[in-house]
Symmetry: C2
Subunit: 211 residues, 2 copies
Amino acid sequence: MKLNQRGLLIVISGPSGVGKGTVRKALFEFDEHDFVYSISMTTRPPREGEVDGVDYYFVSKDEFERRIEAGAFLEYAEFVGHYYGTPKDKIDAYLDEGKEVVLEIEVEGALQVREKMPDAVFLFIAPPSREALYNRLLTRGSEDPTTVVNRMDKAEREFLLAHKYDYIIVNDDVHNAADKIIAVVRAEHAKTERSIQSYRSMLEVDDSYGK
Amino acid sequence: MKLNQRGLLIVISGPSGVGKGTVRKALFEFDEHDFVYSISMTTRPPREGEVDGVDYYFVSKDEFERRIEAGAFLEYAEFVGHYYGTPKDKIDAYLDEGKEVVLEIEVEGALQVREKMPDAVFLFIAPPSREALYNRLLTRGSEDPTTVVNRMDKAEREFLLAHKYDYIIVNDDVHNAADKIIAVVRAEHAKTERSIQSYRSMLEVDDSYGK
């Protein structure tokens, strides 16, 4: 029995190249949970195999800036020349329906969400070692050398921000990492601050006691 | 990969009759975790099937009071005429070895442990309804009617203390409840405050930053 019926906002973040996307996709293979992916919007060009409306909403810089003006983003950030943002619409509706809403965002953006959505669960995906991350960035091959060096610099700064997250998940193996996130989701639902109200209705104990 | 190597002190508590013992036993059926049960000491007589040194250490009232004097308990409480306590020895050694130490204690005792061991994880086992708990107390049959009424009164007071715990686990089904506790254990190990130090050594990032 799950006391807390409201969905969780799960923020998957971490250094560039750590494998946030693969971990996030692996999460959706667990059938017993009702996950919804909140698709980000970006002005960077699609990588090979990426599909508009599935991996990202790919838009022009003008379009993105128009939406910033309109207050349409929960967070957005610019890096290595491109915008990345999380459209605000639908998130609250999904949470009310009891769906777990998954955001996959850059570190800078995640820290903006922290202020706006204090109830969200913040997961820092860490590489098992610095070398593992660097190798990934070097072999990804979809970017030019300058971009790779920029991403390494960015990763170095991001490594220092892990302490601002609720949990640190080492991505030594995608399935392990996803499995650990599932454990976090289950534990978070059982947390007293999320479940005490339903508990009190269930046992009809005085709602005002001990507040 | 598990960043936090130290074991967790897991306090399983909740109203009398909620099935703490059965949930605790079910936990030990999960092979992938290194649980150790910290056996409580009591002056109440063994129920049918209970074994000294397995379910409890059964001692005399004199012996128990001698140990209170000697400071041998992490917590102890007296109720319906009997003492119940948690012997202190071994707990820290087990935690250092990375074992998860499970305590199964009454609500009053759990709140004493909270002050002494702030790093422990406090789980309130709740019945799915008040009726479920009352039926359990009525059909347990090992106690006289006065004791049953005393336990009901005690349960009513204990229902009000759930908000003092970290997690509320509904014991609608023993296996579900144990499974949820396993999720809590995994999540707690991934919590930033428990894993940030190992994370920093792993990535060799400056230990003093952002403290």
